[in-house]
């Protein structure tokens, strides 16, 4: 490897994310780590399946014009994806310091991105503002498709929206309503009124199952 500099960007339950410089280019290396509680062969199968799944979703999303990091390389053997490093700010960190107008603009953009994914049979699986990066030009990038899948199922779309709404409520409590409202505006532009209504109804149905607790209530 020609990595010159290497720093750990994030350490999740499933993978470790490194930032590296390859041949003068800044890249992200996402490595899925083995779980020692799983049968070693099953563990490997799962990690490989998910690496390929994520790479495929990133590729498909990009072809739809959704801004996601470009894939540079996949090393299936070491369950690694090398992708473009997106220079910018995580929405999670900055959203609370922004003006209402700015937030509204950003959330509409997010709505268009997610609407594009959903209307083309892709669900992200972990829609939180931690997984959204705003580049210098104001472009919003979606990252981490590790829990994503190909699906047209209303239930899956509903869960995707529900996860997003829950993330807004816990992390950006005082602007959550505005965020979701503006998000739905952008989302509607792509999905159309009727589909959005059914999806939102689904979100409330999922909530009514009553097993989701806002994160600020966690101990």
């Amino acid at each position: 490897m020609d990595a010159i500099r290497c720093e750990v960007l994030a350490k999740g339950a499933e993978a470790i994310i490194y930032k590296e410089v390859w041949y003068g280019f800044v890249v992200v290396r996402k490595v899925r780590i083995p779980k020692r509680y799983r049968d070693a062969r099953l563990d490997r199968t799962l990690r490989i399946r998910r690496t390929i799944n994520e790479a495929r979703l990133l590729y498909d999303a990009r072809r739809l014009g959704v801004s996601v990091p470009a894939i540079i390389d996949i090393i299936v053997d070491s369950t690694t994806i090398i992708m473009e490093y997106i220079e910018g700010i995580r929405l999670r960190d900055e959203l609370n310091n922004m003006s209402i107008n700015e937030i509204a603009k950003i959330m509409r953009k997010v709505g268009i991105l997610v609407g594009t994914l959903h209307s083309n049979g892709i669900v992200h699986g972990d829609l939180t503002t931690s997984n959204m990066i705003m580049s210098k030009s104001g472009n919003i990038f979606l990252i981490d498709f590790g829990l994503g899948m190909h699906s047209d199922d209303l239930e899956d779309i509903g869960v995707d929206l529900h996860v997003f709404l829950r993330a807004l409520e816990s992390t950006h409590t005082h602007v959550a309503d505005i965020c979701f409202h503006q998000f739905l505006k952008g989302y509607k532009e792509v999905m159309g009124e009727d589909k959005v209504k059914r999806a939102v109804d689904k979100v409330y149905e999922i909530r009514a199952r009553g097993r989701y607790v806002p994160s600020e209530l966690r101990k």
Partner: protein, 329 residues
């Protein structure tokens, strides 16, 4: 005098009577389990079994505890979730005892009882529970006045998955130890569907896929190994996510399937990785039992939770997150 409660369990295959004292001492735990001669549990057959053994089990529990019915402070009963005909037997007997001895009747949720007896037996304070049995598969933790579900099966419970599989493979019941025993001899892991949806798991598709393989020419041992490893890996993944999410410092395995050694090992690993303490409910309180209803009855009674006999309807689908647990505050 410390409170003493008699508890009746009859939600599924087991008719059990327990007697628990306020200080956490279990004075009696007598259980009689209906074992079908063929196939799965027929609710009516199980209920007939319960009716036949009920008075003997009650008397035996009283004799063991050395306490007279007159001196008991309340009659607790599992009103759900469970099989209608079975639940009715326990509810009927509890009402009669409460009315004829003029004792308060205490409604207990069977799932709450499983986690409370586990909490008592392993001295846990506020853990994440993995509650796995023939009738339930839930990941549960306390938050805001209730036990909340942080993951569960979308279709069949894990114990039911193993029982059905064992039956189809021609193995005796209960299925989990049988599958685990054969899995030890297994060598190869097959390619099977691995179904995790967000925080939830689904076992029905895995079951169908395994049974389809069984019709082909495969080794029974490999089949069992694959079934067990897939089922547990799916569960492990959502448990790990729930543990990271809730940040609980204790992990407790409860319910009948908690007896599985392989599952215990897996949970131990997960707890270690998240700096949590891991504990397993003791065997005697793992499966359905009367003691857990009695002990939860004590907790309820102390919090003033009782019910009028005429309102004590059974609730087949009574979810754990519908129950207030004021003693956890």
């Amino acid at each position: 005098m410390p409170l003493v409660v008699l508890g009746i369990e009859s939600t599924a295959h087991t008719f059990g009577v327990g007697i628990a004292r306020e200080d956490g001492k279990i004075l009696a735990n007598v259980n009689s389990t209906y074992i079908p001669t063929y196939g799965g549990i027929l609710p009516r057959e199980a209920a007939r079994h319960h009716t036949n053994v009920a008075h003997k089990v009650v008397l035996k529990a009283l004799r063991k505890s050395g306490i007279r019915l007159e001196d008991i402070d309340g009659i607790a009963v599992a009103l759900g979730p469970g099989l209608g005909p079975c639940l009715r037997v326990g509810a009927f007997i509890a009402r009669i005892l409460a009315l004829s001895y003029d004792k308060p009747l205490i409604p207990v949720n069977h799932a709450v009882a499983h986690v409370e007896i586990a909490r008592l037996a392993v001295s846990a304070r506020d853990p994440l529970f993995v509650y796995v049995s023939g009738g339930n598969t839930q990941i549960v933790a306390y938050s805001q006045g209730r036990y909340r579900v942080f993951g569960e099966t979308l279709d069949i419970p894990i114990g039911n998955f193993f029982d059905t599989l064992a039956r189809e493979l021609g193995l005796p019941q209960p299925g989990t130890p049988q599958i685990e025993r054969l899995a030890k001899e297994g060598k190869n892991i097959m390619d099977l569907p691995y179904i995790v949806k967000g925080q939830d798991v689904s076992y029905s598709g895995l079951l169908t896929a395994i049974l389809r393989k069984f019709r082909g020419n495969v080794s029974l041992e490999d089949l069992c190994l694959s079934a067990m490893e897939y089922a547990y890996a799916m569960l492990a993944e959502v448990v790990e996510r729930a543990l990271a999410h809730t940040q609980k410092r204790e992990l407790v395995l409860a319910g009948g399937v908690a007896r599985s050694r392989r599952l215990q090992d897996i949970m131990q690993y997960i707890a270690e990785e998240h700096d949590a303490i891991f504990k397993v409910v003791p065997d005697e309180y793992a499966g359905d039992n009367g003691a857990m209803i009695a002990w939860t009855g004590v907790l309820c009674l102390k919090s003033g939770i009782t019910i009028q006999p005429e309102e004590s309807m059974i609730r087949q689908r009574w979810r754990i997150d519908e129950v207030d647990v004021p003693w956890m505050r």
